[in-house]
Amino acid sequence: MSTAAAIPSVGKARPLKVPAVDDRTLRTGLRVIAVKRSSVPRAELRLRIPAGMVHDSGDGVRARLLPDAMLAGTKDRSSVEIARELQRLGASLAAHSDDDDLIVHAGVLEQNLKPLLALIAETLTEPSFPTDEVAVARDRIAQEIIIRRSQPSAIAAEALDARVYGRHRYGRPLPKPDAVRRIGPGPLRTYHAQHVGPRGSSLVIVGDVSPSKAGDLAEEMLGSWRAKVSSAAPAKPTPPPTHLPVLIVDRPGALQTNIRLAGRWLRRGEPDFYALALAHIVFGGYFSSRLVKNIREDKGYTYSPGSAVDHRRLTSTFIVAADVGTEVTAPSLLEITYELGRMTLMPVPQDELDAGRRYLAGVTMLSTQTQSGLASYIDSITSAGLGIDYLRDFRANLERVTPDDVLRVASDYLSPQNLLTVMVGDAGVIRRPVETLGPVELTKAR
């Protein structure tokens, strides 16, 4: 019987095929970016309009409801007629608001791209906000909010946002279900008129269609969308505060504690961004990271710990997350702090850095291998003000980073001193052990 072979060597990765792009800005201000990918006879669309939660000067109810309500009927079609037309076209159409934007996601059989664009134009320019449809949408969303706020991860996200962003609109909690149930068509109509327009908006089309043809179709079907909206950009939030006590949100009887740490981060494309991105990967950004090896694979404290970066339009925030067994809450925080400290004090060995670099370049390529993935990727970099050259140069920019670069940026951005901590768990059990590591502040879940 033969013995196991040696580990095969891996050749150099092929250069990323960067697709040709048709990038045009219509006279109305709408930017249209079209890319060909003919893997299946379909097209994917992402339309992004600066009308998300940060633009809502009230409690956020209007921004939260508008996407659903906008697709729920037009001057000429009821919601069920829209749904049936989408089925006939082999299309899907949905919308939601994130912190910054109202985002329309659509997909369609390639031969029906034009009628789908026509339908999208109709929902943008002539939504009718039928009273009964608004009532259905607000009931559904109120229910979603009730369910979401019963999830420990959502409680943790809300508490973290409040701690990180303070009084800025990014830190605002989810709207109250009662406030959602009270809203009628009037305020939605007004919010739509004030915020939904082509200026500052972008449309990405990726599919089995030539870029220039897709661009022409978008221009033909959406060129007459001309709403004038208030374009005041919201103020930037101040950097997250530091040197705060650990905030414990009490959830009596909880079986796990949701631990979150957060701090400021660099914007994509800034000179030190690539070094910092690699620091995050090595620390907790993938399965072979230090954090996963330590508190999952070595100690079994948690199922899926990790770090992530939340890029919003006005700021970027680093987040460390671990949902751990209640009894190992303080030990987990100790290990997280230890791994952060290691990143800030000692250089990352060259082979560990190289592995992180290959991982980040590889998964970036993998994420662009479908129409849907490529559309989402281009949409994401477009919304950050970046062009396709960001994707083209990404690997080369990672390759320039040295261990010294990583140490320099990590010693600032990953320093435990510069992060704040929030945890959702059973305060009766976790408070005393956590207090042995530092001061604690206690609050109740809302």
Binding site: V10, R42, V80, R88, L109, A254, S288, R296, R358
Partner: protein, 432 residues
Amino acid sequence: MPKTRTTAIPIERTRLDNGLRVVFAPDRSSQAVFVSVYYDVGFRSEPKGKTGFAHLFEHLMFQGSATLEKGMHDSLVTGNGGILNGSTRNDFTNYFEMMPSNALELALFLEADRMRAVRLTPENLQNQVDVVKEEILVNVKNQPYGGFPWLYLPMALFTTFPNAHDAYGDFADLDAATLDDAAEFFDRYYAPANAVLAIAGDVDPDQTATLIEQHFGSIQARPAPPTVDASEAVPSEERRVVHPDPHAPQPAIAVAYRVPDPIAEFDDYAATVLLSSILIEGEASRLYQRLVKNDRIASHVSGDVGLVAGTFEVRGPSMLHLAAWYPGTPDPDRILKAIDEEVASVADGIDAEELDRFRSSYTAEYLGSVDALSQRGMLVAAFEQQRAHAELINEIPSALARVTADDVSRLARAWIQPNRRAVLDVQPGGHA
């Protein structure tokens, strides 16, 4: 009817002397490869007293081999730009990596390496029992609607152990797992003859067949265990289970009906998929219009045909399932009455126009889903494992195209009836 749009994904296959089946779905326009191994072992293979063992064992397959230390498998994949995972389902356990195609041979080496000899140590077993328990806490026990309905609904609908036990595992069973159990499980189920290796994406099948022979050919042949027969009688009366959920803020209901066999009665099974769409899928569906829009007694309704493995990736008994979330006090009968009326209306007959719309929509979504290399690779592997017919990936649109309005009504009459279903009545409250 317009011409059916489908895919033309090329399929090639080979088989090694030790029984390993190999299937290729090449696409040279991609820069990535998706490599997966499907072992013919799943929830339905678990013996009594060993609930959750198939999933626990999946975790152990990531804990090192005779040649590789714990953690090296992961770091070789991710450190060369790839992603990896595994999952345990009703009729299979799969392992996969998606990598830049220059790393294809590495992926083959890694899968062959752990198929040859997994590393089983007391430390790894204890560590992964702990990790799996945390996984169950985060996904089920510490979560509103945790495991609803995918974990609990089969437990209500089915009665025989292979179909009806807790697939995630009882904590006592997990704690009782021993290294001997694991060694025996590996020996029995992880034989090359009990596995399918599937490779999708940027791959040359001829060249790669040579590499596969090099890496897998020397793994010792062992007989494949007999295929699990999980068939069981269809219920003759409604089964109702009250499911208290201490974390849930509002009531919910899930309903499951038995359906024709996914393989032996494939055409009827495909028709049931469209019946399910007409009832449940999207805003044009019967139950959305009835429950959410007109009666306004539910805030959300969803459902499908299949098990947690998916719609077509199942070999044993399957189901049509739906779930609805609603405000107020628990009142499942009000929801069930509306469901029964809508099903009766479909059973009385539907327009071809309605069927065509749902078919067009389902087909377009299906084509979108197989754009992802991972989805292509997984469907091809499961179809080869369960049906020796990877080509089914290209044939689903035409199978749906053959379904008639009469088929849909006939299946609603025959299968979607109160005495053939189980109801899970989720009651919120209790203490957290």
